[in-house]
Structures are given as C-alpha cells and as structure tokens.
Amino acid sequence: MSTVVSIEGLGVSFATDAGPVKAVDGVSLKVERGEVLAIVGESGSGKTVTAKTILGLLPETATASGAVVLSNKAGTAERDVITLSKKQLRAVRGTDVAMVFQEPSSALNPVYTVGWQIIEGIRAHNDKLSKKEARAKAVEILGRVGIPDPEHRIDHYPHQFSGGQKQRIVIAMALVLDPGLIVADEPTTALDVTVQAEILDLLRRCRDEFGMGIVLITHNMGVVADLADRVAVMYQGQVVEEADAKTLFASPQAEYTKALLAAVPYVGTGTASAIERAEQRPAGWAEQAPVVEASGLEIVYPGRFGRPGFRAVDGVDFVIRPGEVLGLVGESGSGKTTIGRAIAGLTKVTGGSLRVLGHEMNGLREREFRPLRSRIGFVFQDPASSFNPLLTIAECVAEPLVIHGRAANPREARARVDELLEAVQLPRAYGDRYPHELSGGQRQRASLARALALEPELLIADEPTSALDVSVQARVLELFAELQREFGFASLFISHDLAVVDILADRIAVLYRGSLVEEGTGAEVLGAPSDPYTQRLLASLPVPDPVAQAARREELRRLREAV
C-alpha cells in the first residue's frame, strides 16, 4: 500500500481577539490508499482544522507549521500542501484531494443544475475536454453514486433532490476527478439515521471500488465503528490515541478514549430503569387525569395563495400521565417538534383535540393560555440561541419568576435563582456571567434551570442534547433523569436519537411522516418492534462496536431487501 497523505508535526494557530490560540499541536498522521482513517473528538479538539489543512482551506487568520505531504493518485508526485501557493493549491484540490461537506444543502449552489456544478469542476482542471465529454462523465459519476436515471436528473436543480441524494451528488463532485484522497467532514451529521446508513455504504464503496483513501471527521462513534479502518482520537489539539478500529473499541488505551466510549449511549441501557420506575408507581396511577392528552391531533401549516397546506401532524393519539416521560422519536420532518410546540402553544392546533393540563388547545386564545404557561417548562434544542445574549444567566433564569409575579425584579429573585443553578449543578457565580461565556453543556443546564424555575408539571424538551458533544450529552441526560426523579414532572422528550430517548423515557412513541407508527414501553418498542419503519430505524442506528456493527449491517440489508 502507498501513502496518500502524511501529516508530520502539524501545528496550527489562529489569531483571535484574545490573542493567538493554538488549535492543532504537533499532530502526525498517515493515510494509506484504500483506507478509511477516522478522526474523532469533541468540538474544538482540532479535528476539522487538521482536515482542512490537507486541502489548504485554512482561513487567513491561521498560520500552520510542520508538513502535510500529499501524493497524487498514481503516486508519482509529492507535494507539501503548507508551502504551496494559491495557484498550486487550486491544481491539487479536486485532482489529488477532494472534500465532502457536512451540510449538502449549503454545499450545492441552488441556482445552477447539479450537472453544471459537476461539469464546472471537471472543466476547471481539464479544459481540453469538450462539453459533451464532460457531461458524459458527469452522468456516469451520478450513476455510480446511485442517483437513479442520471441522464435525465443531471439537469435538475439541487432543491429537486432529497437530503440524502444531495449528499450523494456532493460525493459525486468529489469523486469525478478521481482524487486519491477524500476528506469527509461530518458527512452524515445533517442526515437522518436511515439515510446516514446509505451514505456510509456509498463511502465504503468509494474506498473499495475507487481505491481511495478517506479521512472521516466525525463525533459519532457509531459511524466510526461502521466505516473506519483506523481511528485517531484527538483531544485539545493533540492525537491522544491511534489504533485500528477493532483494537480501539475493544481495548482503548488512553483514559480519554475510555471516557469517550463510556459516554456513548447504547440502545437498551434505559430499559431496566424504566421497568423499575414502572414498578414503583402506586396503584391507580394509570387512572389519574393525564397531563397531556391528544386524540386525532392534526396540525396543518397553511399553504400560500390557495395551495393546500402542509399536513405536519396527522391524526396522532397519545397521553402523558403525571410524572411520566414520553419519548418522541422521528426523523426530520416527522412532525415531532411541531407536536412539542403545539403543547407549548407556539403552533396552532388545526384539528382533533389536544388537552394540556385540562385545557383544550384547539381554538384556545393566547390570553387564556398565558396563566397556564407557568405550569409548563420548555427546553430548546440550540443552547447557543435560547438565551438573550445581553442578559446575564441569573437574569435569564429569573425571567419566569418576574413574569409570573413571584419576584419584583431579577435581584429579588437571586436567592431562588442560586438554588436553581445549584440544582442543575452550576456554580452560583455563573449567574453573573453572560450566555456566551458558558459552554454548550453549561448553557443547556442553565436552560433546564430556567424551565424548572416555576416547578412546572410538564416539561417539553425539544432535542435538548443534539447540539452537544457525546460526553457532555451523557452528563446532561444524567442530570435530566436526576431532576425528573427529584421534581417529579411529566415530560415530553423529543429526539431523533433512539439511544438517547431510551435512557430517559418510560414510554416511546415513534413518528413517521406525521403519524404515530408505534408506541409502547422501551422494552416493547426497542426490543421487539412490530412496525417495519421502527425496525428499519433501529437497524440503521450504528452501534459503537465494529464487530457488532458488521452484523447489524447485514441485518439492515436484509430488511431493506424485504421492503
């Protein structure tokens, strides 16, 4: 095997307002032909910066030292990317190394057809090729990445493709010049689990059929187990451990790797505790009046100018009883967030019935609902934007207390705010900080504190951990479970990740295109799913264990063929 890229002693520093910051510190890595090297780590560990250096894509504020030696596919020429001029870099990009981006919808230009964009790349590097030949080449590559009917679809615009197909096109653009190396930066993070499995299959084919080296950047250990041959774990700008995938998952050496692997949620871990909780409930619990009761719930977003509206939720029935956690799982567009927002009164219910704390939400006026809001808490998905950047954390957490008249101003509420901050395991002093001075996990805790300030009977958590790193996610989930035990609130926990929902939920409901396909306890839904969609969803979820994942892949293929 020959080496495609070899990074030696790479160091990258950024100029920031707070002085120079070192993002990558003495990293040495090698990628062989036909091999997938996964670089894993948390946000800020320097994995993306390392990968971008391979393409010479660092911003102007960065300076790099060390060497990144890139050889072309034939193995005849070697070049050090760091020393190349802009013009030489342009020649290297595309032909020797290509990149697959995280967000396929923003990597494609919406005003050009996908064919134009692929041909643009071909002709930029080979102007002798006629338009016809370039087009033939583009059609061929689209066919090879699995776009059906490529002769016809080459003239379509990006918005006419689904998210998974767009990512296939982005991969096609990377493949078309037949580079020796592909850098894939979180290629599946923006995609649903079932689509993710297909893209991972495609990347595996890239390696096997095209004989490429792939650098895979990801924070998802399941994806690593599924695709990677070798794994490099990065932490604070350094590689703390490098080993082949099987060895790394079986016997991690570095402390950090062990902690990282331990934090990854597994499906099936929460089932036992859910059963335990169910047994402890007093008799007659199930007969209590439910906190939320939906029957035939329908939510339609109005269409524009006479066009029919979009039916986001279509005839959904479920109940949440006091003190119970209902996990709502579904892919993007399944209507799970819409249901959460409807319960909080942020989205209008258009049909059926939704009773929240004994009030009918269908046709409710905002004025009547306002007093009820003190009994409902809401935790938002993105901790970065759910706090007013100009208020301190203490002022933000005091906001509900002031609004509902429990305190005259944020200063008076401070004692209670301090209690709340301690309840979510944040130091009191953090109350004086501004939101941007906190990390994502800390902000999400503060968000929990704000939601719990009025001791609500119902807490709606909309993907509270999907923007967090695995290790932080584990702690926030733990905290959530602890608070739920302590405060005893009922909760609707919305997530796209089955494993996360499994840890917390008493019952799990699976949504697919606006309708509820399956509902039951964790053991029922995850242990023996009856709906084909749930089965597929479960089988698509990659597990962080290469050996088990290989077996699951077979299972998924069997399921797909059965459909």
Partner: protein
C-alpha cells in the same frame, strides 16, 4: 458543592467596554489609521462647534468692528485670515460658527429620527400584519422621493423657506428627519423580524411574557446593534442635506446663523472672478466633517464584522492550546457533582470567532 473555588468570570475593564474606545484598541494597521483620522476630524469638528464663540475672531453676522466696515471680498490678510465674503462677513468666523449650526442640525435630526424610526420599526416588525404592510409602503414611498426635494418641501411647509436660527435649524432637521426615519425603520424592522424567530424570544413567549416585555426587554436591545453605524453615516448625510438646502437658498438667513451651504451659494459668482477664498473654506469644512464622520462610521462597520476585521498575524504555531474541549481529563475524572474543573473552557468565541468543528 465547591462554589467558593470557582472564580468569577473576569469582568472586562471599562476601557474595553466603551463603544469607540474598545474598537480603537482592537483595530490594527490601516483600519486603525482610518479610525483615528476619522475620530480626530470628528473631534475637531465637535470642539470647534462647542467653542465657536471663543475661537471665532468676529461674530457670524458682524460687518464692522471698531475700525470701521470689513469691506467686501477682501483677500486673506493678517486681520481677516480667510478674507471676507461678498456680503462683507469674515470668512473664518463664519466657517467656525457654521460648525455650531451643523452640529445642532445633526443632533436634532438624528434624535428625532432615531426615536420615531426605532419605535415604528420595532412595532411593525414584531406584530407584522396590516400595520406592517402600511408602514412599509409609506416608507417605500418616501424612499422613492428625491430626498433633497422632500427636504425643500418640508422646509417650505415648516418655515416658509426663510427663518431665524432655531426656526431654520428645526426646519432643516425635521426635513432631514423625514428622509431618515425610513432608514432606521427599515434596519430595526429587519433586525426585529430576524430576532423574533430566535429561540430566546420564543422561550420568553413560552414563559408567558407579555408582548411589550418581549419587545422591549428581549428584542429592542438586540436589534440596536447596528444603530451606531447608521447614526454616523446619517450624520454626514445630514450635513450634506443641510448644505444642499442652504446652497439652494432654503437655509438660514446670514443674520440668524452661519451656514456653509448659504456661503457657498453666495460665493458662486466669486469663483469666476478669481476670488477663491470665499468658496474654498466653507467647502473644505463640509468635505472634512463629512469625511471624518464617514471614516468613523465605515471603520466601526468593518470592526464590528469579525470577517472584515484585520488582525496581527500570529507567529508560526504560537499561542497556547485553548481548552476548547469541554471536559478536561475526560468525564471520568470530573467530580460527581460535575463542578470542579468541569466544562470550564475558555470562551473565546465572543465575537463569533472560535476554533470549533
């Protein structure tokens, strides 16, 4: 809970928090040069305006002193450094006094338009609906007018075209206000519409906050971030509009106040007969003040955007590795309460810059 060992967040020093001072310290190279040049020019302008009665050798409407009349169109001399105008006024004195009039107009025009524009923009953007549509149409209609024509109409309506100092200043300021309100309205409305969709506004709504509270506590303060920029750019435009009004003869009477545009108008016929000093100095005053204020505005604009902001290049591979990873030492070594050392990362992304993946 070991709250005592957790240090308070470092308070930013006063000089880092003052708006312009902070930017000045942050800037480097050409951007710093531009900002300093703008600040010096603007500072000179404001000082001149404030101390005009002390600096100016004569009054703005003074035609004679103890030794008799100044005489018309006298060339610069020791007695009249910038010469005298066709009407027999001292050019230097009128240029200095003119700064005062210009400052009055800027302050009044900007204050009037900022309050009206911001309030309308906030209400219109937040509530939307028919009120929003009507206001947007009205503002578009005002945009469609040539602004100088509008200012002329306003000045005729307000003062019949001619007036004393305050009448003239208010006429000019209000006519400029009418043109500027749509600008503030537009900017604040656009920001409000964007911020309305932010999660923190939704979270305030979920908490049950009233519309007024959401608008003024959560939206307004976040929407005003770009105001200083429009403020400076508008100030320079206000001076130009005032000068334009004066030049066209809709300004302030020479006996009521000194006004650069008026002096330029009266200097028109002088230029062809080789009398350069009556036009040069008022013109130069307008150019320098507008240049100074625009430089400040443009540099603030560039510095506010992290992508346009220049930085010193760092030495190769210098700096310390930032503790960007959120769990130092991994989750295992963190305390059970998760406090000591946990997630205590530096947050250097204050201005949107961060090394994150």
């Amino acid at each position: 809970m070991s709250t005592d060992i957790v240090t308070r967040a470092p308070k930013r020093r006063l000089r880092d928090r003052l708006p312009v001072v902070h930017q000045l310290r942050q800037s480097v190279g050409l951007q710093r040069g531009m900002l300093i040049a703008g600040l010096v020019l603007t500072g000179l302008f404001i000082l001149t305006a404030v101390f005009a009665p002390l600096i100016a050798p004569f009054g703005f409407a003074q035609l004679r002193d103890a030794e008799g009349p100044f005489g018309s169109q006298q060339a610069p001399s020791a007695e009249h450094l910038f010469g005298t105008t066709v009407g027999g006024y001292d050019v230097l004195s009128r240029v200095l006094w003119g700064a005062q009039t210009a400052l009055f107009v800027i302050v009044i025009a900007v204050i009037l338009s900022i309050f009206a524009g911001v309030l309308l923009g906030l209400v219109s953007g937040y509530f939307g609906g028919w009120l929003d549509r009507v206001l947007v149409v009205v503002c578009d209609a005002i945009y469609a007018f040539p602004s100088l024509l509008l200012a002329i109409v306003m000045s005729i309506v307000i003062s019949g075209g001619q007036s004393n100092l305050w009448g003239g200043v208010f006429a000019a300021a209000i006519s400029i206000t009418v043109v500027f309100i749509p600008q503030y309205f537009r900017v604040i409305r656009a920001e409000t519409v964007r911020i309305k969709a932010e999660a923190y506004v939704e979270s305030a709504k979920v908490l049950g906050a009233s519309s007024g509270r959401v608008m003024f506590r959560h939206v307004l303060r976040n929407a005003t971030r770009t105001l200083p920029l429009i403020f400076t750019l508008n100030s320079s435009e206000a001076i130009l509009t005032l000068a334009g009004l004066g030049f066209l003869g809709f300004g302030i009477e020479p006996t009521a106040a000194a006004e650069w545009g008026y002096d330029l108008n009266k200097a028109l016929s002088d230029v062809s007969s080789g009398i350069w000093w009556t036009a040069l100095y008022p013109g130069l005053a307008i150019v320098l003040v507008v240049l100074g204020i625009t430089l400040v505005g443009e540099s603030l604009n560039d510095l506010a955007d992290p992508r346009l902001r220049g930085r010193r290049r760092v030495a190769q591979a210098s700096g310390v590795v930032a503790e960007t990873s959120v769990v130092p030492g991994g989750t295992l070594s963190a305390g059970p309460g998760g406090l000591s050392g946990l997630e205590d990362g530096e947050s250097f992304d204050e201005h949107g810059i961060g090394v994150r993946s």
